[in-house]
């Protein structure tokens, strides 16, 4: 495998072909923040929190560290005024959706992001896609997916699949940086017929347990 020499934050790094900037930085102990990245999953590049500045033949540009492959003589800066500002604004936008997410709050402290900068729109999901991709790529169950588009995009469990697969799995739960996933699951759960629930003809929402015609 061919060696690739590059520079990250002033350090000379020797990486091998196919590595990303994130991988290469890790080998020399430089941490780049990530939110949508997962080692076992295909590169995604959705959240952009890993944005770094690179210089290719003297030209600076901003790229996502978790997907950008290492190149010969690349000069990478993982922190700069520009990079920090981008991360700050991204965090502020995500915090508008998930104000109490611990992972986001820790990063917010680091980058001076103001959790109240944008009007709150608590959808909780930050669209990192970890749950959707984990279920599809690793478990191959496709029990959860994205629906709708733009600002209305959200994750949704497919009740028919979730009712069969999710009970004993739930491996995606700890991956979610916010509480969106569990909330969505609770919602889906209410649509899933409980395995031992009594079959009833009553569809009202009261607690009459569906036995029609009892008593009077």
């Amino acid at each position: 495998m061919s060696e690739i020499h590059l520079q990250i934050d002033g350090k000379e790094v020797v990486a091998s072909e196919g590595m990303t900037i994130l991988d290469a930085a890790k080998t020399v102990g430089i941490a780049i923040p990530t939110l949508c990245h997962h080692e076992k999953l295909e590169p995604y590049g959705g959240c952009r929190i890993c944005t770094v500045e690179v210089e290719v033949r003297g030209w600076p540009k901003l790229v996502a560290g978790c997907i950008y492959p290492v190149e010969k003589d690349l000069v990478v800066r993982t922190r700069s005024e520009k990079v920090d500002k981008i991360r700050k604004v991204l965090l502020e936008e995500m915090l508008a959706h998930a104000p109490d997410a611990e992972e986001l709050q820790a990063l917010a402290k680091e980058y001076g992001a103001d959790r109240d900068r944008f009007e709150k729109e608590p959808s909780f999901c930050i669209h990192c896609g970890l749950c959707v991709r984990y279920c599809a790529e690793i478990k191959k169950k496709h029990a959860v997916g994205f629906v709708d588009r733009g600002s209305n995009r959200e994750i949704s469990f497919i009740p028919e699949i979730a009712s069969k697969e999710c009970w004993d799995c739930k491996e995606c739960f700890p991956l979610c940086p916010t509480s969106a996933l569990q909330a969505a699951y609770v919602l889906a759960e209410s649509l899933i017929p409980q395995p031992d629930a009594e079959v009833s003809s009553c569809s009202c929402s009261c607690s009459c347990s569906g036995k029609s015609g009892t008593g009077e």
Binding site: A136, H142, V144, G145, F146, V147, D148, R149, I158, I161
Partner: protein, 150 residues
Amino acid sequence: MDIAKIDQIIENHNGEESSLIQILLDIQSEYHWLPKEALARVGERLQVPMSRIQQIASFYKAFSLVPKGRHEVHVCVGTACHVRGAQRVLDTVQDITGIGPGETDAELKFSVETVNCLGCCALGPVMEVDGKHHGNIAPSQIASVLNNCE
């Protein structure tokens, strides 16, 4: 819903996964929406997970996951049409059909939708019914176009 018909549509595209969107479009134009059983069949035959199908079906505006009327009425409210009286067109359409933008009547006859520019501003105000454009349309004409729909 006729499963054989869905199968026929899938056959027309040789049951290829890459034709997923085309197949969904055909089902949409046949039924004016995408019934759940049809989607389940498509997923089964094409070996595409339901989550993918739902993602696609909810992403494109051309698809509907709820029943739509037999006639699709699009009233352009783009800038040019707006200036040329789109609101009056919309009001007239609402009066005749009894439904507003985004709605479908109980008999599944009409679905009304507003759109932002149909690309023929010089004809404004424009109304499109089942893909046919009606330009420079006056309220009296709207009535006759809509009343001609079965």
